[in-house]
Amino acid sequence: MSGPLSLGWRNIWRNRRRTLISMSAIGVGLLLVIFYSGMVGGMIGEAKNQLDDAGMGHVEVFASGYRLRREVGRTMPDVRAQLHLPPGAQVGTRVLARGLATSARGNEPVQVFGVEWAEEAQLSAHLRKLTSGALPAAGDDRGVLIGEPLAERLALKVGSKVRLMVQRADNEMGADLFRVRGVYHSIAPAIGQRQVYVSAASARALIGIEGAAAHQVVVQLEDPAQADAVAGGLRAALGDRVEVLTWAELLPVLKRMEALTDNVVFAMAFFVYLLVGLGVLNTMLMSVLERTREFGVLMALGTRPSRIIQVVLAESFWIATLSVVLGSVLGSLLTWQFSRTGLRVNPAESLQLGGMIISTLVKTRFNPLDILEATAFVYAMALVVGLYPASRITRLQPAEALRRT
């Protein structure tokens, strides 16, 4: 067998070290691109799918006008009966207020969340991560849940008393004494420092609103892609009393980042392969040109120019294939490993960006499509890297090629 593929295969092993170096360079480039796509994909995917680190919804419904100045008087009735949501969706209602928490140690500004405990525990990851105490029982109107940083600043622990003071719907000040039932841990310090949780009923009593009135309904979806459809449905069902927003509107940064991600990965891949490609091109060129005379002999024997090109392309094809095997196996292993254990990309637990909370424990996304794309890039590069040296040979008259030593 001396067809182009077989000849190319044997030729790449004539200089074993050179081939191994080229192969490692491309392989490592591929590994980087695969891992980087997995990391960025995981970061954005996680931020989008798991809004519960921030206790946010893919769709959020607010009492009409509430968002503007956050006046507690602007409420909406209980709309939960009117929500038609896809299976797997999680819903929670919140009564919101701003105020001050006071202990013997001092006082701190807080945001009071009046919630149904069971619902809220589904929506907010930190309510599932209590460092001490427990969620208040149903009907417990004095219980409050606070974050670690606030507990520290106000020297509070489970069982301590804390006074919450808020502005009431009638513009008077309302205050009441609560007892700390639990302390939670949030990956975002801002949450742990500001957000305190009481039952919806006690929040209503505190701010002086009636019945089942609330300010916000939070909806988390299994598939964030359904957000627009769900929001449209809610707008139609609930009309003017409410304002319906999707994650893309609530977190424009995330939306933009998502759009940017593909370009960023593409640009990164482009530059990695450009650098690697230039190195490999140089090597290929050297390796082909130093065999000019041999190609001259092949041409003299009646090898068509197109077949000479095939022989050279076969060499870059084999190098690419070996690199792809190496790079995609290692890249997949690495991506898969960190999709399970996660990779800490920053000493802080999370990064906050435009209202978005991104966990710095990035669980890479293992996406076969990423690997396919990265592989396609390698073969495209191999084509260029093979064609140029090949053209340098076929440009020569056979007699000229034979004169080279």
Partner: protein
């Protein structure tokens, strides 16, 4: 019938910053089927240039070369490649063989280009190797073979596809006298047995003495008119 016709061929090498080199100045030559012919002449007289033009490895500046009646001027690179594959065999002075191919693969290379299947290729190569005393070298790598053995493989490759002409540019220049003489004798026998035309260039009196006819080039011109 003349298998090779060379008509008023000139070849001028024009390199940047150099005066034009007139390698051939109006050479005309007819070579008959079955000839065993030598091109002689001092270094730089144009022997290699003439062989290259006959083999379609290079284009004449003016004049015409015909192989088997086919004019070479105006043929594309691909058509020239096909013509060489089907009608012309080559033996060069050295480094004739592809080092990553075995001796048998080297010798069968032209047959493979012609689309001959691997079993038949192997059989035909083996027959030639048996004939020229290389039987035990079928699967040897060229670098493990002596210079004389390598040249024999090159001769096998040149004749196995039964071309009309074999062009050999100083085939014995890198061999010692005895080995060179044996190679010449081998080519002579193949020329007789198979009627293949051989055209070779040489400085070597031993080689010249074995030729049917010697054409002498000096400064790109034929000085001893062909008979």
């Amino acid at each position: 019938m003349a298998v090779v016709e060379v008509e008023q061929v000139t070849r001028v090498y024009q390199e940047k910053g150099m005066p034009p080199a007139h390698a051939l100045r109006g050479v005309s030559l007819q070579i008959e089927q079955g000839e065993f012919m030598a091109l002689a002449g001092p270094s730089g007289s144009g022997k290699t240039t003439l062989l290259n033009l006959i083999g379609g490895l290079d284009a004449a500046t003016s004049g015409e070369v015909r192989v088997g009646g086919q004019a070479l001027s105006g043929l594309s690179r691909k058509e020239l490649a096909d013509l060489r594959r089907d009608r012309i065999g080559f033996v060069f002075q050295s480094y004739n063989l592809v080092p990553v191919l075995t001796a048998a693969e080297n010798a069968g290379y032209v047959l493979e280009l012609q689309g001959v299947g691997s079993a038949e290729r192997r059989a035909r190569v083996k027959a030639v190797f048996d004939r020229i005393g290389l039987a035990q070298f079928l699967d040897a790598r060229p670098l493990k073979m002596s210079g004389g053995q390598q040249q024999r493989v090159a001769v096998a490759r040149a004749i196995v596809s039964a071309p009309a002409v074999v062009l050999a540019d100083e085939p014995t220049a890198n061999l010692d006298q005895a080995t060179g003489a044996a190679l010449m004798d081998l080519m002579r026998e193949l020329n007789k047995e198979r009627g293949i035309t051989f055209i070779f260039s040489t400085h070597d009196p031993m080689v010249l003495s074995r030729a049917d006819r010697v054409v002498r080039l000096v400064d790109g011109e034929i000085v001893t008119a062909p008979s």
